[in-house]
Symmetry: C2
DNA sequence: GTGAAAGCGCTAACAG
DNA sequence: CTGTTAGCGCTTTCAC
């Protein structure tokens, strides 16, 4: 064993009576080595407990077998699904998974990318706060894949809020609601924009009046203000930007003695953990967030591999469905 | 810029008219370089957009500025706090954070440690499933810190279930409960053992009869069986191994028409997200899980730094407190 | 099919 | 204080 204490390729080479390059080949390029010597080398490596050093390999080859995922707020249950899916996919591919919190700041995202760029093969950007232009520029230097965000020319995996929002409106319209209010999330949030757009379009189509309020902090705490604002709007259905906000709204409505769903209906997005445990259980749009995370990693890895010539970067859209629980019901009689 | 496309220390050196080693020193060991040349070098580096390559640095110095956290089940909200805290601390120290799911398997933990050992400075093991012996053996080769697990000679950060369990018993005893049942978690779980031990001791002290059932799957789904088993036990207070299980128990009790807290009281551990949103809101032991994660990283980093001679590895115990909500009440009259 | 040698980008003696 | 040199552990030409 070399002086450093860990077994290197040279230790194996010496012990096996071959050159280091042969060991290297035997390990990574088996067909370029005589079958017998290969077996022998492998056996010696095994016996010596040899483990390749990923850093040295990466330094030489540029292939790091590592991806990083950037999350605006690691605290937000909204992202747990995507994180989970991404980690799983990475792990399946024997790719190391780096998780980084960007604290809802675009500048922070840029910093992290800068900091990590030499250590990873690519980045998964979840609900990125950066502008299209900045992101596109970064994509020229780095390997990027987006989750719940679409930018021309970049690979992405999004949970499809369009049809989903339509489902929400149809559900509400069928319950005779004539007006809804969208309680929107952060202004920079691409998702919030998409959801509102789809909601409004569907509402118009179904003769439902739709208005938007906010932005609100997309957390349980934001629900207080949001609920109060929604109540004065006079709408009978409240569509919250996400479940966290919806839960906060439910709580505030309970405090104020407003009956759900008898007086107002409440809908969320995401179907996060707890959405079925709160009371009333939340009607919400359930999307395969974990699939989105998984797919983004997939796209990253696929782009990295030199297997085939690759066509246009992929844009994957994942289907959603509305889960109807107890927070929505017939519109109250006037 | 060198052929590879990225700016290296040599590019900076050439451009600044100094040797590469001088650039290296100017960047990492500023006081060993003339102030004027240092300024000059820094300026050139800035202008060329130089970014050090962490891999090359690590290969040379052995210092990777990276830690990995191993989690039995990334899906389980129980761990979110610890993950969050650990990520935060790492990020503050400019240390890259690797997250790895071990799927509740000790073998998997060993594999990951093996796989990652060359790439990281140390590991945070959360609620490790490995035996004391195995862990201690690994600790001789690797830099380890434990979360919610204690092993002689290893640094650890645990949320203190002892006093916490006592608080639970005192609370229940004061409500005139004469018997409680502990719905235990996975058998390999060190935490489950600790909790039961403390619970039993406190119960004895307060003249409360304590029995243990299980193990149950510590998830919402596990609550069904657990609730049914608990009901036949005849106890008036159910203490679940964690909030997830407690929530499942609440749900099952509601299904069966058992009134909480009128007929039975339910207590959980962890105070996870949602514990205050379910109905009835869950009485639970709240511990600073994020502090535990944060502290474990802290211990890892401290051990790594060569600053001072280090005494015995630290064992940090974090205080907990019982959050009384609506799932506990006076014992029913007989 | 295998060995010798160069080099990935950086740091750390050792001279000067 | 600064330049030269020698690697860290691995892969990859280029000869043989």
């Amino acid at each position: 064993m070399s002086s450093s204490g860990r077994t290197t390729i040279y230790d194996v080479a010496r012990e096996a009576g071959v050159a280091a390059s042969t060991v290297s080949r035997a390990l990574s390029n088996p067909r370029r080595v005589n079958a017998v010597t290969r077996e022998h080398v492998l056996k010696v490596a095994e016996r010596l407990g040899y483990r390749p050093d990923p850093l040295a390999t990466a330094l030489q080859t540029g292939h790091k077998a590592t991806v990083a995922m950037l999350i605006p707020d690691i605290t937000n249950p909204h992202f747990f699904g995507a994180i989970r899916g991404a980690e799983r996919r990475a792990s399946e591919a024997d790719v190391t998974f780096i998780l980084s919190n960007t604290e809802e700041s675009a500048a922070n995202e840029e910093n992290q990318i800068d900091r990590l760029s030499r250590s990873v093969d690519g980045f998964v950007l979840a609900a990125s706060r950066m502008s299209d232009a900045t992101t596109a520029a970064l994509a020229r230097e780095h390997n990027l894949a987006l989750v719940n965000r679409e930018i021309d020319g970049l690979p992405s995996a999004v949970v499809d809020s369009g049809p989903g929002s339509r489902q929400i409106v149809e559900h509400l319209a069928s319950l005779k609601h004539r007006s809804l209010v969208y309680l929107s999330g952060p202004h920079q949030s691409w998702l919030a924009g998409q959801r509102w757009k789809a909601l409004r379009a569907a509402a118009e189509q179904h003769g439902v009046r739709a208005t938007r309020l906010g932005p609100f902090s997309p957390k349980v705490d934001g629900g207080g203000v949001a609920a109060d604002a929604a109540l004065v709007s006079g709408a009978t259905a409240f569509v919250a930007h996400n479940d966290l906000l919806a839960m906060g709204v439910l709580r505030r409505l309970a405090e104020r003695g407003v009956a759900v769903p008898d007086q107002v209906s409440v809908v969320g997005y995401d179907d996060i953990f707890g959405a079925d445990l709160c009371v009333p259980a939340l009607t919400t749009l359930s999307g395969p967030e974990d699939e989105a995370g998984r797919t983004a990693v997939e796209l990253l890895l696929r782009k990295g591999s030199l297997s085939t010539a690759h066509p246009a970067p992929q844009r994957v859209v994942l289907p959603v469905h509305l889960v109807i629980r107890d927070s929505t019901g017939p519109a109250p009689d006037r």
